[in-house]
């Protein structure tokens, strides 16, 4: 009897060991399949339907692309794309230049790209021209912009700003400076603070009736200025708060990259007579570019998901001017319109994938190849 149990348990162990190939990876893959891939497909059904709650569960009615049409051309257009009325001269010129640049880039790559690559380039180009058209028709024609451009504003301008400041701070901290370790710890902290807490703290600091910046604003004669009442100032405040949180991320990675540049290289350049500027431009920068573009890509991916900050600081206001696409989708969901909500979410997914994949293919891969060639 004893023997039997022993053998039994052993065969169990053997069975596990024989299937360890599968057992190691199965939990992760199943989790992702069930809770990420399956819902992504499921979401298509929502996006293509009108969904109602009823006594016996959800009722789906297939409506083809109506939900998308509503966002792009129908009565939700102002909310999503912005007010598209009368293309101004500036907008037209901008659209023309942007389109020409994109088409030129496309033309130049015709000869070298494979046909799969070409399809990718066509999608990137189409998206770029579409976004330029929206920009020309709304922003540059004096019309309010929608959540699409607001999101892109957070992503492009925000990430750009964060990258420059983050890299600059990292460079300063890589220099022989006293108190380095203190600055490192302090600069790192914001990244880890709950975004909601950041939103609230910033809301208090930026408060225009009893906030700590009042004396400063009074001093420069802007005591009555209420940032949350104006669309662009609200967006900029939002972006600055987002930067407050995310500059540390760029900082910490770039600092590690800077410190990873072999000391020998810098010393050799010093002996050879290079100045600090020359050393940075000629020796250090080329060696950290691959890390720089990768960290920028990661930051962009996360930036597309921004929701906590606008939600707590302005609730998307004034109007819908600080709403990101995630917040847009969330608000529609709150009004129980699941189909439209899913459609907006899908548009965000498409935008994220196109922008990030383009950046990855045309910028990051190029730099990585150069570094490894």
């Amino acid at each position: 009897m004893m023997e039997l149990t022993a053998r039994n348990t052993e065969s169990w162990g053997e069975w596990i060991d024989r299937h360890s190939r599968t057992l190691f990876i199965a939990p992760a893959v199943s989790l992702i399949l069930i809770f990420a891939i399956f819902p992504t497909f499921y979401s298509i059904v929502f996006a293509l339907s009108r969904v109602r709650f009823s006594a016996n569960g959800l009722q789906f009615r297939f409506v083809w692309f109506q939900n998308f049409y509503k966002q792009l051309f129908g009565n939700d257009q102002v909310h999503f794309l912005g007010k598209i009325e009368g293309l101004s001269a500036v907008g037209t010129v901008f659209l023309a230049i942007a389109s020409a640049a994109v088409l030129w880039w496309l033309y130049r790559s015709v000869r070298t790209a494979t046909w799969v690559g070409m399809i990718g380039r066509l999608i990137s180009a189409a998206t770029a021209i579409f976004v330029s058209w929206i920009m020309g028709a709304t922003l540059l024609s004096g019309n309010p912009i929608g959540t699409l451009l607001t999101t892109l504003f957070y992503v492009t301008i925000g990430c750009g700003l964060q990258f420059f400041i983050g890299t600059g701070l990292a460079f300063l901290c890589s220099q022989p400076i006293s108190g380095k370790s203190f600055f490192r710890v302090v600069f790192f902290i914001p990244l880890m603070i709950t975004p909601l807490g950041v939103g609230f703290a910033m809301r208090m600091v930026a408060d225009s009736s009893k906030g700590p910046l009042l004396p400063l604003l009074d001093f420069i004669g802007a005591g009555n200025w209420i940032w949350s009442a104006d669309a662009w100032s609200a967006r900029f405040v939002m972006m600055i708060c987002d930067s407050w949180q995310w500059i540390p991320f760029i900082f910490i990675v770039m600092l590690a990259a800077l410190e990873n540049v072999p000391r020998d290289h810098v010393e050799a350049a010093q002996v050879d007579g290079a100045s600090s500027v020359q050393i940075f431009r000629e020796i250090i920068w080329p060696q950290i570019v691959p890390v720089a573009v990768t960290v920028l890509l990661i930051r962009m991916i996360e930036a597309f998901k921004i929701v906590d900050l606008p939600n707590i600081m302005t609730g998307g206001g004034p109007g819908t001017s600080t709403e990101s696409m995630t917040l847009h989708s969330m608000y529609i969901w709150r009004s129980n319109d699941m189909g439209t909500s899913a459609a907006v979410a899908y548009l965000l997914l498409i935008l994220t994938v196109v922008v990030c994949a383009s950046f990855f293919n045309y910028v990051v891969l190029g730099q990585l190849r150069k570094a490894r060639a």
Binding site: G13, S20, R21, F24, I25, P27, A28, V29, I32, F35, P39, F41, Y42, S43, I44, V45, F46, S49, L58, F60, L169, L172, C173, Q175, P176, I177, S178, G179, F183, R184, V185, V186, F188, I189, M192, I193, T194, P195, L196, G197, F200, A201, M202, M204, V205, P212, W244, I252, A256, S276, T294, K305, I312, G315, M325, T326, M330, M338, A342, A345
Partner: protein, 394 residues
Amino acid sequence: MSEASFKFEKADRSLMERLFEPPAVGKMSPAANVVAHLLLVLWSLFVLFPIYWIVITSFKDAAAVNLGPFYIPFVDFQPNLDAWRMQFNIEPNCDLAAIARQVGLLLYNTFAFVVSPIVALQPMDPQICKIYHAFTNSIVVSIISTVVCVTVGSMAAYALARIQYKPKFGNIMMFVVLCLLVIAATSYSGVPWWASTAVALALFFLLARAFGKHFKHTLGNGDILFWIISQRILPPIVVIIPVYIMFQSVGLLDTHLALIIMYAVANLPIVVWLMHDFFAGLPIELEESAQLDGATRFAIFWEIVLPLTRPGLAATTLLTLILNWNEYLFAVFLAFANVQTMPIMVAAKNAGEKGIFWWEMSAIIVIMIGPVIIMAIILQRFIARGVLLGAVKG
């Protein structure tokens, strides 16, 4: 190249040069030193001021806030503990017995869903001791989901670093088609979800057995790794509505389990990404020698590989823990009353109609961000060693 261009004597150097050139290698020139310190101190102020402000506001009372702004405690205003006391005493029922009951319920619920997700969870009174409730919820959810995520994620990362997988492209396509069929059948034809899923799973295994051999095109480990990591691009808002419906149909809405699963899934890509890099960097000889000694794969993983990656594992765990603690969007959709986490509670209070009590909110937020600031300072020491850089470079 000519000697004339070199200056040897210190006396040769003009005032400008003395200001802008370092006195020696490894030091900074006086001008650069001043500018750099100025910038760094300014940025430190910019970083620290909001945190400082929220901490001092939590020690203010209504008057000190509304007549403000006041900056320095004891000079500008008299700090008091009203806001803090309010967190603990405003509810008349919030005595020790109530707290004990809440903790007991939490433990029971944690146990219940660990044993089986089907066991009904005890409803906890959301009105009592909101802060304890949210805080313990946050702790339970983020710790358990971190453990799940890091365990599952490092296993997958290790497997991808050491075992060759060759999934058939045809099988994957078959899976996708069956997925779509299940969704269509459930949504439009009113087939119960469990029936369609069971049929589809059965079909998948049958078809994979029957036709799997004939598919020629296979993918490699790199593809699987890229696929897992690229899940991070997926905006959570895309999956959250279907996930909401899925959890609703199995009755798991507003439970710890739902949050734990979703938090773990959301952070899996990060864990796999970071841990894969650590595992791939280990010398394979150790594992090979253990294999020759007759150790099973799990034994090798547990006894040899994990201890070797301890610093990386610690950093990854801490990072996941912080991300889970801060998670907001999933909680908004999946948690209403029972499992409200700290961020949800803060957001709900913030949206209250009575206007915001800054001092009270500040106290809650200090409670919310206190743990993460401590964790961040610990994590920073790991990151200072460049633990995360390898992954970014890879």
